[in-house]
């Protein structure tokens, strides 16, 4: 059972949240400081920009995955949605000649898959792991079929501007990620939709008896997940200049582990946007630093595994210590 934190009750909300997730934040701060000191070129403007860009995909999708996990569900189909949305955007743009239509098409495809997932889970009560595993296969198949298996070329040059349009030195994908963190942070904490999501994840039956429309809620959350994965897929396609049906395999596990690293409970009912942000950044920094340090790939596996385990163990240790003291 989790501890009471009486002394903290008086503190303002943001600070308290910070302290609640502080185990992990401490890990991150230490890690970041360590990397800044010991890894040459780590703390340079362009490396940080590159680091941010490299986590946009995981980061954007992690915000909605957080909602899905808070609901006590999981979504394994995100990587396939990214691929499908990208391919659809590329095909539609080329066919219609209109970037707007193409982009809309890609995003709509993502949202539709998400809504379908939500429908299957909420209406038929199918376990979301298995439902989205099925979707993961099915949607990847659709992506291959749409593209004919090959990367799809995009003939409309404006399409590429999407991924590279910059503002204050940051490109659209980075801004999108930032927007996702703000929007879903606000949704989770400041709206009844967000609180109902947590409540449903904590005890679905009780939530339904307390007047939450659980079915609608689930469909909405999954649809949002599809929507964001769709947007991420379209942006990826525009950044890479091609709609690749093969892209992002294994992304779902990376996203889920960023969330769990950030303290989101897999059994539902517990989530924090700060935690997810830190989880995403830890994973991104480690990966980036390994690149800078030229760590051989084989050892990269070891490092990634070890960091993941150590971070969770440290967090755990802080929690029990707090509970004990």
């Amino acid at each position: 059972m989790a501890p009471v934190e009486p002394a903290r009750s008086g503190l303002p909300k943001p600070l308290r949240t910070l302290l609640d997730t502080s185990g992990l934040i401490a890990v991150f701060v230490l890690l970041f400081a360590g990397l800044a000191i010991f890894v040459p070129d780590f703390l340079t403007g362009r490396n940080i920009v590159g680091l941010l860009l490299s986590v946009t995909l995981i980061g954007s999708i992690a915000t909605t995955m957080m909602m899905v996990l808070a609901l006590g569900e999981v979504d394994l189909s995100v990587a396939s949605i990214v691929a499908l949305a990208g391919v659809v955007a590329a095909v539609v743009t080329s066919a219609s000649g209109s970037v707007t239509i193409g982009v809309m098409g890609g995003i709509a495809a993502g949202a539709a898959v998400g809504a379908f997932n939500g429908f299957v889970v909420a209406r038929f009560g199918i376990n979301s792991l298995i439902a989205t595993l099925a979707a993961m296969e099915f949607v990847r198949g659709l992506a291959y079929i749409t593209s004919g298996g090959d990367a799809v070329m995009i003939t409309v040059p404006e399409f590429f501007d999407l991924g590279s349009a910059a503002f204050l030195g940051l490109t659209l994908p980075v801004w999108t990620m930032i927007a996702c963190f703000i929007v879903f942070g606000v949704i989770l904490n400041m709206t009844s939709f967000g609180r109902n999501t947590l409540a449903t994840g904590g005890n679905a039956e009780a939530a339904s008896l307390a007047g939450v429309n659980v079915r609608k809620l689930k469909i909405t959350v999954f649809a949002l997940q599809g929507l964001i994965a769709g947007i991420a897929g379209v942006l990826l396609t525009s950044r890479m200049g091609l709609g690749d049906p093969n892209t992002s395999q294994g992304l779902e596990l990376a996203v889920i582990s960023a969330c769990v690293l950030g303290g989101v409970s897999l059994s539902g009912g517990v989530a924090s946007i700060t935690g997810v942000l830190v989880g995403v950044l830890i994973m991104g920094c480690v990966q980036n630093a390994m690149g800078l340090l030229n760590v051989p790939t084989f050892y990269q596996y070891l490092v990634r595994g070890a960091i993941l385990l150590l971070a969770v163990m440290f967090d755990r240790w802080k929690q029990t210590r707090r509970a004990g003291g």
Binding site: V4, M190, R195, L198, A199, N203, E205, A206, A210, G211
Partner: protein, 497 residues
């Protein structure tokens, strides 16, 4: 009198922000049924969890048969001959009755479960529990809450422990089950066991117990080694620190027009068409034994389940709620009976648990919730219902059972509701708080709202309600006005013919 077999000396248990027990000492003897009493959150369950190795001591010592112990897990306590029936059910829902009864001590031969012995042992103990009709291979999740509670009791009995402790065992038991329990407790006493018995029901203390210890705010207040000459009111005031003469404090009031009418409705668990009226300003009781179908009837009203027949007329219009949400919006709220599975969001804070429904009234810009007003609302009820919690942000799972129940009540009290359906609202709630809750119900009724109370507590229904409906076997038999509702008559109707 012999030396005390169980001695607790100067025991302190701290949780962050709470001293659940503060230097408590007391002792209990073999062949004694020792009642532990106190308000919600007084530390009774914590004390039992110290005995069972779940909670660690920060100070103090346990002596059992003269030897000192400090358990670090449940296994050690079980080995030392202590068995506890916890306040909350601890069952594996998908395993059989037999496997749950013998959990942790399955009869086995070289690791292989001896099915025959398993069944025989289960059958024997079920017989003893008065649940002889239960099949040992039935899955536990198919049982009623009362039957599940009996399984818990059976499991503890099968431990053959010297010290056996019950934490509010009767709160979910039917009349017959309670009778059986009393017989079992008496037998344990005769066998010379140490029986600790936590309850909020005064009559049980006077009927079954030999000694009583009162706690308040984690401190030991007083131990009465005998109940002779002990006065009911004196005991109550020791517990709550003030005098309460009449817990029920019934207040008569004016009644308005009919708010809800049930017209011959039938559905799952309600086998015969049920009809009733409830007026504004009325407190209507539904009495029956566990399994009589009272909750089911109310689930039909509240949209949690659909009626197969009949009509629900609310505020003059026939309605059929598709969901609990629709019912709430229309003005009917249900406070469910099973707190753990239907009521609380365990990991969420007290405030989130309380404001889940009513926060729609505190919206800003029609979109964002209003944390300050939510907190104010929470603080208001923490005060009004004297909910014992370190603060509004504490996870509700950290509260004592009775205090969790109060939070759920507050959830509905802060709603804009015309009809309150409360399924066992005072289950596990201490005398002082009960009085507060009753008085709140009267307040609601005086404001022209209606309250429907489902209760298995005979004294309660007959004392606080204006009329009492009695159910038996899925049938609503009769609705009796307060004046004629003697306990004998109610029970006579409710018991199987």
């Amino acid at each position: 009198m012999t030396d005390a077999y169980l001695r607790v000396e100067n025991v302190t248990v701290e949780f962050p922000g709470v001293k659940a027990l503060d230097g408590v000492s007391f002792s209990a003897h073999e062949g004694q049924v020792h009642a532990l009493m106190g308000e919600n959150g007084a530390g009774k369950s914590t004390l039992l969890k110290v005995l069972s190795g779940v909670n660690r001591l920060s100070e103090g010592c346990l002596y059992i048969g003269g030897e000192s112990y400090a358990f670090s897990n449940a296994r050690e306590a079980l080995k030392s001959g202590i068995a506890i029936i916890y306040q909350e059910l601890t069952l594996a829902p998908n395993l059989s009755v037999a496997e749950n009864l013998l959990m942790g001590q399955l009869p086995a031969h070289h690791g292989f479960v001896d099915r025959r012995r398993l069944r025989d042992k289960a059958l024997a103990i079920l017989e003893e529990l008065g649940e002889g009709k239960l099949h040992p291979s039935t899955r536990v999740r198919e049982l009623s809450v009362g039957q599940q509670q009996m399984i818990e009791i059976g499991r503890a009995l099968l431990r053959n422990a010297r010290i056996i402790a019950f934490d509010e065992p009767t709160s979910s038991l039917s009349v017959q089950e309670t009778r059986h329990l009393k017989r079992i407790v008496a037998r344990l006493r005769d066998e010379g066991k140490v029986v600790l018995y936590v309850t909020h029901r005064m009559e049980e203390v006077f009927e079954m117990c030999d000694a009583v210890t009162v706690f308040r705010d984690g401190r030991h207040i007083r131990t009465h080694d005998t109940l002779e000459g002990l006065d009911h009111d004196a005991l109550v005031s020791e517990m709550v620190g003030r005098d309460i003469n009449d817990v029920y404090g019934y207040r008569p009031r004016e009644q308005g027009d009919v708010l809800l009418r049930l017209d011959g409705i039938k559905g799952r668990g309600v086998t015969a068409p049920a009809s009733l009226d409830i007026r504004r300003g009325e407190v209507l009781g539904l009495f029956g034994l566990v399994g009589a179908g009272r909750s089911e009837l109310m689930r039909l009203v509240c949209g949690a389940e659909h009626a197969s027949e009949g009509a629900v007329v609310f505020k003059g219009a026939a309605c059929r709620f598709e969901s609990a949400q629709a019912a709430i919006r229309a003005g009917i709220a249900m406070c469910p009976e099973d707190r753990k599975t239907q009521g609380i969001f365990p990991v969420a804070s007290v405030s989130d648990n309380l404001n889940i429904s009513c926060r729609r009234f505190f919206k800003r810009l029609g979109l964002f919730r209003h944390p300050r007003r939510e907190t104010e609302n929470t603080l208001k009820y923490i005060q009004e219902l004297s909910i014992k919690t370190p603060g509004p942000r504490t996870p509700i799972a950290n509260l004592s059972g009775g205090n969790q129940q109060k939070v759920i009540l507050a959830r509905w009290l802060s709603e804009d509701i015309d009809l309150f359906v409360m399924d066992e609202p005072t289950r596990g709630i201490d005398v002082g708080a009960r009085r507060d809750i009753y008085s709140l119900l009267y307040d609601l009724a005086e404001q022209g709202k209606s309250v429907l109370v489902i209760s298995s507590d005979l004294a309660e229904v007959s004392s606080i309600c204006d009329r009492i409906g009695v159910m038996r076997g899925g049938e609503l038999l009769e609705i009796i006005p307060r004046e004629q509702a003697t306990p004998e008559r109610l029970l006579g109707l409710a018991l199987p013919a």
